[in-house]
C-alpha cells in the first residue's frame, strides 16, 4: 500500500491532501499562521488524523505554495503552477486553461492536451484581482467572504465600481453603503469588479477551452459567473473536490508519480 501526500502552504491557508492509488483519502484546509512550517504541519496533522495515519505511513510528500521551501517533512517541492495544472487536469482531462485565484495572487495557466504547462501569467504585485480584494471588501461590508458570493446571487441592480485599485474601490463601496444601496447589489458589484480585473490577466494570456477555476475564490459563485459572462466563456465547475485543494491535490499526484518511477525509499 503506497500512500502519498501533497501539502500546499499559501498566504492565507495551508492545505493537505492524502492519496492512495490516485484516490483521495483525506483532505484538510487550515488558516496559515505567520510560520509556514507550523501551518503545513497543522494541515498535514489534520489530514493524517482524518485518515487515521501517521507521517510514517506517507511514502512520498510533495510540498507546494509560496511557503513550500519551509515545509520540513516534504520529500521534494514543486511550483504551485505545476501543481494546479496537475490537479485540474486530473479532475477535468479536457482542461486547457486554469484561473487560480489565491489569497494574495492570481495566476492564469495554459496546458497542452497532455497536461504539460505551455505558459502562465501571474499577478502578485497588485491586490486587485486577488483574494485580498474580496477580503478587504467583505471587511468593509462587515460580512464573511463566503457571504459576498451568496448574497450577490440575488442582486437586481449591481453597483459599478469606477476603479480597479483596492484602495479606491473600497472608498467607492463605502459611498454606496452610505447611499443605502442594497447589500446584494454592492456584493454583486464587488464580484464584477474582481472579475473585470482577473479577465484583464486572462485576456493577456488568451484562454482556450476547457476552462476551470481553482483556489479559494473559485468557491465564490458571483465571481465565477461574472468572469464567465465578461469573457463570454463557459467556466467548468470542479465538483469532485474543494477547488481550494487543487494545489495540494496536484502535489499529491506528483508524489504518486515519483513512487511509480521507483523513486520511493522502500
Amino acid at each position: 500500500m503506497t500512500i502519498v501526500a501533497g501539502c500546499d502552504v499559501g498566504s492565507l491557508a495551508a492545505k493537505a491532501v492524502i492519496m492512495e492509488r490516485r484516490r483521495v483519502v483525506a483532505t484538510a484546509i487550515v488558516r496559515s499562521g505567520p510560520k509556514p512550517a507550523e501551518s503545513a504541519k497543522k494541515a498535514m496533522d489534520e489530514a493524517l488524523s482524518q485518515a487515521k495515519l501517521t507521517m510514517n505511513d506517507i511514502t512520498w510528500c510533495v510540498g507546494t505554495g509560496y511557503g513550500r521551501e519551509k515545509i520540513p517533512f516534504v520529500t521534494e517541492s514543486v511550483s504551485e503552477i505545476s501543481c494546479h495544472g496537475k490537479g485540474a487536469q486530473f479532475l477535468i482531462p479536457s482542461v486547457r486553461s486554469i484561473i487560480d485565484i489565491g489569497g494574495q495572487d492570481c495566476k492564469v495557466i495554459k496546458l497542452d492536451a497532455k497536461g504539460n504547462l505551455v505558459k502562465f501569467i501571474t499577478n502578485d504585485k497588485c491586490a486587485s484581482g486577488t483574494g485580498r480584494f474580496l477580503d478587504v471588501m467583505a471587511k468593509v461590508m462587515n460580512i464573511s467572504v463566503s457571504e459576498l458570493g451568496e448574497r450577490s446571487l440575488i442582486a437586481k441592480n449591481p453597483i459599478t465600481l469606477a476603479s480597479i485599485c483596492t484602495v479606491w474601490a473600497q472608498a467607492d463601496v463605502i459611498k454606496h453603503i452610505n447611499a443605502r444601496r442594497p447589500a446584494a447589489d454592492v456584493c454583486a458589484g464587488i464580484n464584477v469588479a474582481m472579475a473585470n480585473r482577473v479577465s484583464m490577466l486572462a485576456n493577456a494570456l488568451g484562454l482556450e477551452n476547457d476552462i476551470c477555476m481553482t483556489g479559494g475564490v473559485a468557491k465564490n459563485k458571483g465571481v465565477v459567473h461574472a468572469l464567465g459572462r465578461i469573457m463570454g466563456k463557459r467556466i467548468k465547475e470542479i465538483r469532485q473536490i474543494d477547488p481550494q485543494l487543487m494545489g495540494a491535490l496536484g502535489a499529491a499526484l506528483f508524489a504518486h508519480e515519483q513512487t511509480k518511477k521507483g523513486g520511493a525509499q522502500s
Binding site: 504585485k125 497588485c126 485599485c165 483596492t166 484602495v167
Partner: protein, 257 residues
C-alpha cells in the same frame, strides 16, 4: 489686472489671487463634503486674506478634480496645464514637473517656452499618490504632517518590497510586530513610494530641471527619497506652498483672456 485661480482637489481646495504677476493672497482648506461649498469657502477665505471683494476679480480659472462643480469660474483649464504654468512661473528652467496630489500623481514635460509636450497621469492606482502616505501614517498612528521628518533618515535600512498600498500595509504591520523603529519603516515606505513615482517618470524621458509640486512635495522624507531614486537634484517651490501651484497656474492663465 487682478485674477484668481481655484483648484478643487480630492482632499483640499486651493485658491490664489494675483495682480499681474504678483501674488496677493492664497488659501488652502480641507475639501468639504459638497464641492460647491469647498469652492465658495476657499475663495471667500482667499478674498478675505487679500482684503478684496469678489467684484475686483476680473477673471477666475477653475481646475482640479472637482473643477466642473466650481460655480463662479470664467473658464476651466486642465490640472496638467495649470501645474505646468505654475511651476514654470517659479522655475523657467523647469522641463519636468512631478506633481503628487492626494489621489493622483502626474509627470509633465515642458519645452523651453513652458508649453506642455508630454505627460503621464496616474489616478488608477493609489500607490505613488498622497493616499499611500495617508494610509501608512494611519497604520503607524502618526499624523501626515509629522511622518516626513520622522522618516527622513534611517538608523536601520529596512525594505518594503511591495508598491501596492494593500500589500505594503501588510508589510508595515509585520515590521511593527517585529518592533522595528517607525522612522525606519517610514524611510523604507518613502523609498518604495519614490520608486513607484520614479518608474512613472521614466515612462517619459526625464530632462532637467525637475520640479516637484503638490501637497506631497512638503514631505521632506518623500522629497529626498525621490531625489535619490531619480538620481538628480529636484527643485521645489520655496517661497510658496507647493500645494497651491495648480491654483497659481490657474490664476496666471486667467491673466490671458
Amino acid at each position: 489686472m487682478i485674477t484668481a485661480g481655484c483648484d478643487l482637489g480630492s482632499t483640499t481646495a486651493k485658491a490664489v489671487i494675483i495682480e499681474n504677476k504678483s501674488i496677493l493672497a492664497s488659501a488652502v482648506i480641507p475639501a468639504r463634503l459638497d464641492p460647491i461649498v469647498s469652492a465658495e469657502d476657499v475663495m471667500a477665505l482667499c478674498l478675505k486674506n487679500a482684503g478684496l471683494s469678489r467684484d475686483r476679480i476680473k477673471a477666475i480659472v477653475g481646475t482640479g478634480y472637482g473643477q466642473q462643480q466650481i460655480p463662479f469660474v470664467s473658464r476651466l483649464e486642465s490640472e496638467i496645464v495649470c501645474h505646468a504654468r505654475g511651476a514654470f512661473f517659479h522655475h523657467p528652467t523647469a522641463r519636468t514637473i512631478i506633481d503628487i496630489g492626494g489621489q493622483d500623481s502626474k509627470v509633465i514635460k515642458l519645452d523651453s517656452n513652458g508649453k506642455v509636450v508630454q505627460y503621464s497621469y496616474n489616478d488608477k492606482c493609489a500607490a505613488g499618490t498622497g493616499r499611500f502616505l495617508e494610509i501608512m501614517a494611519d497604520s503607524l498612528n502618526l499624523s501626515l504632517e509629522e511622518i516626513g521628518s520622522v522618516g527622513n533618515t534611517c538608523k536601520e535600512r529596512l525594505n518594503i518590497s511591495n508598491q501596492c498600498v494593500i500589500f505594503a500595509e501588510t508589510e508595515v504591520v509585520s515590521l511593527v510586530n517585529e518592533e522595528k523603529d517607525p522612522g525606519d519603516i517610514l524611510n523604507a515606505l518613502f523609498r518604495a513610494m519614490a520608486n513607484r513615482v520614479c518608474s512613472q517618470a521614466r515612462s517619459l524621458t526625464i530632462e532637467n530641471d525637475v520640479v516637484m509640486t503638490g501637497g506631497v512635495a512638503k514631505n521632506i522624507g518623500v522629497f529626498n527619497a525621490l531625489c535619490q531614486s531619480m538620481g538628480t537634484a529636484i527643485k521645489t517651490i520655496t517661497d510658496l506652498d507647493p500645494q497651491i501651484n495648480g491654483a497659481l497656474g490657474a490664476a496666471l492663465l486667467a491673466q490671458e483672456a
